[in-house]
């Protein structure tokens, strides 16, 4: 009787472990995917830091709606402006989040939105200037409840 119970318990734990591992292997994006995407934007340009500020909460209780904002230091004139800012999430099923396209008529290169985060991870923002230079900023966001369904 007792032996059977042990067996049963062991079996259950075994199944639970397989379930967890299966979940973790569920095709999440990797930092390499994000790096590749950034490389595609930057081309041969060197990726600088500074200029761009990504603001995100340190701890997001609900991964379904995480407020983020970016701002880039730029005069936003006709010949010197921020062309685009792309946001990537390293631990989501798909790394792309959103790309903001600015114009000189924006006045200031800043934008906010709300995004989904599947788990605790780094969020990366990449700004491309009109002259081709590229800047990036990274924030780590701790997620209490993941927000990508399942």
């Amino acid at each position: 009787m007792n032996l059977q119970r042990r067996k049963l318990l062991g079996g259950t734990v075994g199944i639970a472990t397989v379930g967890l591992l299966g979940g973790a292997a569920n095709a999440l994006a990797a930092p390499e995917d994000v790096a590749a995407a950034i490389k595609a934007i930057a081309g041969d340009a060197e990726i600088g830091s500074g200029m761009i500020t990504l603001t995100a909460p340190e701890i997001a209780e609900n991964g379904n709606s995480v407020p983020i904002s970016v701002s880039v230091d730029s005069p936003m004139t006709d010949d010197d402006y921020v062309a685009s800012v792309s946001i990537y999430a390293e631990g989501n099923p798909l790394p792309e989040v959103v790309t903001f396209n600015f114009s000189p008529a924006s006045g200031v290169a800043s934008a906010s939105t709300r995004m989904r985060l599947a788990q605790t991870q780094n969020v990366v923002a990449v700004a491309k200037m009109s002259n081709g230079s590229v800047f990036s900023d990274t924030r780590n966001v701790k997620v209490t409840i993941g927000g990508c369904g399942g």
Binding site: S69, V98, A105, G107, S110, S112, R116, C148
Partner: protein
């Protein structure tokens, strides 16, 4: 789905001012990652493009992926030098476009 967008643009501004625009549209933003009770993947259906124009000139746009939260919200800036109309449009995966306009008086 009758989505009525909500847009906040100041009614008046001085020439050269930088104004803040806030937009929100109701949309489930189905990511294509979720499964229903039978385990079938719920097909992706999101707003994939948001654009803002002022008097016909592009000001701001966003290329959107499923990682943007439901009821997509965007806040951004615009420099205004003349009175005119802001046009906003949201494009769904199925091709439908939700749009709205806001006028601003610039003095």
């Amino acid at each position: 789905m009758s989505a009525k967008p909500r847009v906040k643009v100041p009614k008046t501004a001085a020439a050269g001012d930088i104004i803040t625009i806030k937009t929100l549209v109701k949309h489930t933003m189905e990511s294509g990652q979720r499964k229903d009770k039978e385990g079938n993947v719920i097909p992706r259906k999101i707003i994939n493009k948001f654009a803002c124009e002022f008097n016909g000139n592009p000001v701001f746009s966003a290329d959107i992926d499923p990682a943007v939260a439901s009821n997509p919200y965007f806040e951004f800036k615009a420099r205004v030098s003349e009175s005119g109309t802001f046009k906003f449009s949201w494009t769904d995966d199925d091709g439908t476009v939700i749009d709205t306009e806001k006028k601003i008086e610039v003095s």
